[in-house]
Symmetry: C2
Subunit: 376 residues, 2 copies
């Protein structure tokens, strides 16, 4: 197995960054929606959209070696937001097929291009900082992957979340250049609150942020074992990818691919085989799961209790607190209302509270059921 | 003094309905605003705007004998909302001058047209029901006015409001056709809560709803005593009104007229002279002072706790209560928020609570101060 001699940089010359950019982010409706999912929005007031920030976090490690996987409908938005991305490094899905197909195809394309490729897959819609801590974790993950492991980067839990899956970490792995690498005993599904509390108290559990770093070849081997048809499909597409047959093969094969998550198709069975390692991430992490997250991620200015997002926001807040997302140029006046969430878009308005932020998903389902899908 | 012999109908053949349609209704911003004041809106879900409902309540008594006084900027809206109003019965103010000038000019025009006219002035933005009770009170007021009184219709208070002025009623007047007519001892300003409670407990006080019924000649005599310049001005305009000089005289005289309320210019001093009577109204009455009133006036449907107003409203309400006014076609989703007030217009959005509904006025003042007057 080829390695280099630079310690912490072991394998980094083989590193390719993969950014799966899918998922609507239903709990962030009406800001995030089918035509404009959350990764295309600046949800942190940083001036960068989430996918731009994801790209910027990785460019220092990957250089130009990227693969962005997104829906065909988002092509123009992604191209305009990531102007440095080479056209050949943009993978457009004809329709969404969940993460196993997206990441599997990325692995297969990279393997065709470079059989020694170590891929690192990082969702386009997470908020992470500081960048240096994240990059250090990725370096350790790459060094560990170079020893023949599928490596995840786990997040040290800050509270007993019942909304995330957990990684049960095991013994230290003693990898050169990856002093914090641990074995993974198993991945566990979203727990009850009582179980989550036990996990956090034990110190042995990390949040599963869906970050995977591994040799493309190894990802494909595990995919072949667990989902042989899906594997055959993505390999067939990948072999045609850098040829003139790309479109034809993609259009023929993609629609038949199974919809399943990379966790089931690769990570969980691989962990059961002892093939998975974890690097505990010391950075802060947020998956921006709902509008309450926006208030966390964008503290209100000192002179107000209201977090305001939006380039053209014209918000008048009196005796109020919470978060306002303005995607219009309308004046928004708030009077005497606490912990409010107001999301104002040209064709839909949401008014709720930070406490009820998770319930937005149900409202979206109701809209769909009642035929108001023009605003979804 | 000419009367007829039909008892309850005494004087009704002399009756002219006057509708002063002014006032922005700042507490109903952003629905009500300078260009579209509240009387132009259907705030009760009845299908009629407030001025249309006011007209309909009076047409059974006045027939075609109306005078509507409004701003020049509202001409097209009023003409389209009141298609039966004769063009000659629409009085357009070049600029707002408060109620004494508006009602004084109406009195002067009616006096020129019919020296025996009994005018009844009823604001365009009040909600009243049932119509029969209101009309009965007006009939009694007209019969009483025919005896040479300025007659107000008072509202029996339902709670100790500190937001309205009160009428201190005195002894019964024994007027034929007006069995409930009482003398008025005095008008009193908006009281403190303690005083308001005393008023309500005494049974001798009525809310002053600003309704005045009186011979036009008598209104002008009192105006001449208390505001001689204003009187001279409106008489000068009125003498030119039904001539080709109308515009020229109006443009010349109107801008110099004093801004004052009819209460100060006529009603209060007349009461001190013993010239005012009151008919206690047994109808329900609301001046739609704020958005909390909309919730009162438009009870939520049985299957929801949310009052929804707006022709094209697309409201999804989950575990929420309050009032939504939709002046757009946008989808509005409300989740887990009680006693909320949401007013959605094309260029401005208000989110508050029924409890804070009165504070809307301060926000409008803030908008004005900060230069966002494009939405006022």
């Amino acid at each position: 197995m080829p390695t280099n001699n630079t310690g912490a940089l072991a394998g980094l010359d083989r590193f390719y960054a993969v950014i799966p950019a899918g998922g609507v982010g239903t709990r962030l409706w009406p800001l995030s929606r089918a035509a404009a999912p959350k990764f295309l929005h600046d949800l942190t007031g940083s001036g960068n959209t989430l996918i731009q920030a994801t790209y910027e976090r990785l460019v220092g490690l990957a250089g130009e070696k990227f693969l962005v996987v997104t829906g065909q409908v988002h092509e123009s938005a992604v191209v305009s937001q990531l102007p440095k991305l080479a056209a050949n490094n943009l993978v457009l899905e004809p329709e969404p097929k969940d993460s196993a197909a997206a990441i599997g195809l990325a692995a297969a394309i990279l393997y065709e291009r470079d059989p020694e490729a170590i891929m690192g897959s990082f969702a386009a819609d997470q908020v992470i900082g500081p960048v240096e801590s994240f990059q250090q974790a990725v370096r350790e993950a790459v060094a560990t992957a170079a020893t023949g492991k599928i490596v995840t980067i786990g997040i040290e839990p800050t509270y007993p979340s019942t909304g995330f899956g957990y990684i049960h970490a095991g013994a230290p792995l003693e990898v050169a250049g990856a002093p914090s690498a641990l074995a993974v005993d198993e991945f566990v599904e979203k727990p009850s609150e009582a179980v989550a509390k036990e996990y956090v108290a034990s110190g042995d559990y990390l949040w599963n942020a869906g970050m995977f770093v591994a040799p493309a070849k190894l990802m494909l081997e595990h995919l072949a074992c667990n989902e042989p048809e899906l594997h055959a499909g993505v390999v067939e597409i990948a072999k045609a990818w850098d040829t003139e047959d790309r479109e034809a093969v993609l259009e023929r094969v993609w629609p038949g691919l199974k919809k399943t998550a990379i966790d089931y198709a690769v990570a969980e069975p691989a962990a059961a085989n002892g093939a998975v390692a974890v690097i505990p991430g010391t950075f802060t992490w947020d998956d921006v799961g709902d509008f309450a997250a926006l208030a966390r991620l964008n503290p209100a200015r000192l002179d107000t209790d209201m977090t305001i997002l939006g380039e053209h926001a014209r918000v008048y807040s009196t005796e109020s607190s919470g978060v306002v997302v303005s995607d219009t140029r309308r004046v928004i006046a708030l009077i005497g209302i606490d912990d409010v969430v107001v999301v104002d878009t040209p064709d839909a308005l949401l008014v709720t509270t930070t406490e009820h932020a998770q319930s937005v998903k149900q409202t979206v389902e109701e809209l769909k059921a009642k035929g108001d899908s023009d605003v979804l």
